[in-house]
């Protein structure tokens, strides 16, 4: 059919009707733009478990910071603190030394979220030696 038209010389570029295809293409485009959502950025927080001998060695070598996570609050070196105070103290302690050991312990019923929050606070202050212990 096309060859017959070419021979006649009456073919025009607009003959192929693209309107429907463009309509569908825009429909698809808008569908995907609306339904897509940005990818989640994941992070992995490094922690270590204190091994029995390492723990004893650490406590002699340098002071370590003990943070306890409870269902309703936090403790730093056996002192009850609010989240804001804890964040302040950690920023100050991190300024002194970034290599000091942080031992985080958590009670059985505390949600995992609170533990992650404390580890994130350590990451924020550039503290790398984070151990997780359980009460």
């Amino acid at each position: 059919m096309a060859s017959r038209k070419r021979r006649g010389g009456s073919f025009t570029a607009g003959e192929l009707n693209l309107t429907a295809m463009i309509d569908v293409a825009f429909q698809l485009l808008s569908f995907f733009i609306i339904t897509s959502r940005p990818m989640d950025v994941l992070t992995n927080l490094d922690v270590s478990r204190p091994s029995p001998d390492a723990q004893q060695k650490d406590s002699q070598d340098q002071p370590m910071i003990r943070i306890a996570v409870f269902t309703d609050g936090y403790q730093i070196n056996d002192k009850n603190v609010t989240w804001a105070t804890l964040a302040n103290l950690m920023a100050k302690l991190a300024e002194m030394s970034r290599t000091q050991t942080i031992v985080i312990s958590s009670v059985a019923d505390a949600p995992h979220e609170s533990l992650i929050r404390v580890i994130d606070l350590c990451a924020q202050n550039g503290l790398k030696n984070v151990s997780v212990m359980s009460l």
Binding site: E15, N44, S48, H112, I116, D120
Partner: protein, 137 residues
């Protein structure tokens, strides 16, 4: 010259457009599948200050803990005994400490995370990683 252009345009584009749409649909579907490999049932906690994850270590073992404290390994429920056996096997196969990623739900109680950590410690893995969202889309 002009005549040649017209000859090109007169070609039947239907087949090509069909194939292009097939390709688009194929790629859209496969990309979606990749996203689904992250379990949507586990809502991770937020850790905006962590280091963004770049690439996966092929040796890594990801252990999921859902909000009811159940331990999942690759979508199947496991007990700590089985988990320990699997970890021992993974260590024996790779002849080195395997990186452990614990993907704990934000609402999972700590005691269940502890069960996983204790299982890892028992097989000799002291270095652990907790997965969290840096940014949530």
């Amino acid at each position: 010259m002009r005549k040649e252009e017209e000859t090109y345009l007169s070609g039947n584009l239907t087949a090509m457009i069909d194939v292009v749409f097939q390709l688009i649909i194929f790629f859209v579907c496969t990309v979606k599948m990749q996203d689904d490999s992250v379990d949507a049932r586990i809502r991770l906690a937020m850790a905006p200050h962590g280091v963004a994850l770049e690439k996966k270590n092929p040796l890594q073992v990801t252990i999921d803990v859902d909000n009811r404290g159940r331990i999942l390994l690759g979508n199947s429920l496991v007990e700590t005994g089985v988990l320990k056996a699997i970890l021992r096997k993974a260590i024996a196969d790779s002849h080195q400490a395997v990186p452990i990623i614990i993907r704990g739900d934000a609402k999972a109680p700590h005691k269940d995370i502890k069960r996983v950590m204790d299982a890892c410690t028992e097989v000799g893995l002291w270095k652990l990683e907790f997965a969290a969202y840096k940014e949530k889309g």
